[in-house]
Assembly symmetry: C2
Homo-oligomer: 328 residues x 2
């Protein structure tokens, strides 16, 4: 690894597990210089509580509390409430552990008092001992919905209850027209030395963030000022490492590959980091308008998370250099 | 115990623990012929959830699930969520057990969907295996507030968080003007063979029920049609068996005794059951306009619950007989 100083103002756009893993790697590399802007499109209301799956996955992961075997929730979780709810005949398809519920209670109480989502998020992060800031993309609620052959579904209905089985024909973000990036998100992007698009689902994790009115312009302005945008493909050898991104690419009419991802991010990102398994797509990705960078993108442990993060950070600087060189 | 058939259409007005105990006794005596109309004035919102303390105390007690040592909540409860919430710095002054939380989640989810309070209550009771109907006094929210020397407090703030320490100067029921007895409550009163006012706090447990627009008239109409109203004093020898009823009588300018209770229920009830310890108040109670009936009113076990319930049921019939006799 190079010993040279790394940029500290890294803004990472992230959804759930894949984004959380790279965010943890970035935290290891740049520490509190990291700000994560997290998707809120999969937030939802259940049992009267407001649940923020992506925020909590990133927060638990950055706090080192995540259950890595299971892939979601807290390590060493207990399930007394769900057991009781199940005996009462309640809805238990979205599993809420006892410790996890404490997060939802604390959040829901503060939101019910009228506190801003961003304030609530930062308070939760402080309570959990998270170092970097994790910013909800907006203080206004946005709710992702997907159209299947059986009609429109709320996101968690599709994602968790139906286990992503139906083909997705269309996606919409309810509330997006009235939502704006929070002041904190705007400030973070304006100060970013680099912007990282994490290996999250381009449609339902990164998509809602990029669909926020003003956010593409804010990112473009930052790029124009010299900051580089580095994306990491969530598709490796035509398969999503987790979740339905590959099937969504297909059912929504895109190429189910890192090349399909490259086409989605053309005009937004400077660099697309793809896995060694996709080396043969490099030329096509470059033709799509993004500079490919081949690396190990599969994050199986702390070391591989940090390694990919270092690659991304280096790419954000190298790209600056190469563009500067191209200009010269 | 007499073997003669007992009336089955008993409507009991109840608050929390004292009301729940007599309701359990009435259940033992008249079975599913019991309908409990429960105070909703101490319902409140916490952590985004809607909590119904009196309903749940009665429901858990009638289902035989209550924690008798502690005096509230479920037996064999666990506290994982509260422990986690405490570690996060959340509000834990109102203790919510893990199994109890399942009740709150199920309720809050259904209320958030727009279901009527009465429907939600009956569904919860079915889930918990409760036999008799427990009817929230109203489908419209009513919230009791008490004025102390430090100003107005929400009821649970006073009752649980401040442990009833401040003197209560005034009581109000927010929402009461817009609330009505539910259709089910109206039907139950119209069909009642007898109405029982449980040994609950006259101000904050029975008070909100009697303050509902139309309820006094409904009870009076039923009395005029021959049904008797039997109240049980929650004050024994000048002390409340549980809670602040004795101090409230005092601070609100009433006699802190069964006689003070008698004066509150004059015009509403035909009979006031008082404890043997208050035998000397019988003449004064009669002068206040209610027929006193001296009995053992302290309920320490199933047998004493059922014994008091049988006394109450007998009194509801005896009163009818004696009034019928007086008329003849």
């Amino acid at each position: 690894m190079p010993a040279e100083p790394r940029p500290s103002g890294i803004v990472a756009l992230a959804g759930g597990v894949g984004g959380a893993k790279l965010a943890a790697g970035l935290q290891a590399v740049v520490g509190a210089g990291l700000t994560v802007v997290v998707n809120t499109g999969d937030d939802f209301e259940l049992h009267g509580l407001t649940i923020w799956p992506d925020h909590d996955t990133v927060a638990y992961t950055l706090a080192g509390l995540e259950d890595r075997e299971q892939g979601w929730g807290l390590r060493d979780e207990t399930w007394h409430v769900m057991g009781a709810l199940d005996r009462l005949g309640g809805e238990t398809w979205f599993r809420l552990g006892d410790r996890d519920l404490a997060t939802h209670l604390l959040r829901s109480g503060r939101l019910a008092r009228g506190d801003r989502a961003t304030e609530v998020a930062l308070a939760l992060q402080a309570a959990h001992g998270v170092g970097p800031q994790i910013l909800p993309m907006s203080d206004e609620p946005v709710r992702t919905e997907v159209r299947t052959d059986d009609g429109w579904l709320t996101f968690q209905d599709y994602f968790v209850r139906l286990r992503q089985a139906p083909a997705v024909r269309e996606i919409r973000f309810r509330g997006i027209d009235d939502a704006r990036p929070s002041a904190e998100v705007g400030a973070a992007i304006r100060a970013a030395e680099a912007i990282v698009v994490c290996p999250s689902n381009p449609f339902v994790s990164i998509g809602p963030i990029l669909a926020l009115p003003g956010i593409r312009e804010a990112i473009a302005a930052r790029r124009a000022a010299g900051a580089r945008v580095v994306a990491v493909s969530p598709i490796v050898a035509g398969r999503a490492l987790k979740g339905p991104a590959d099937r969504m690419l297909q059912s929504l009419g895109h190429d189910p590959s890192a090349l399909g991802v490259a086409r989605l991010y053309a005009g937004i990102a400077d660099v697309l980091v793809v896995d060694h398994a996709d080396t043969d797509l490099a030329a096509a990705i470059r033709s799509a308008g993004i500079e490919p960078l081949v690396a190990d993108t599969v994050m199986t442990d702390d070391a591989s998370r940090a390694r990919l993060a270092a690659t991304v950070v280096d790419a954000s600087r190298a790209a600056t250099t190469s563009r500067a060189a191209a200009r010269a």
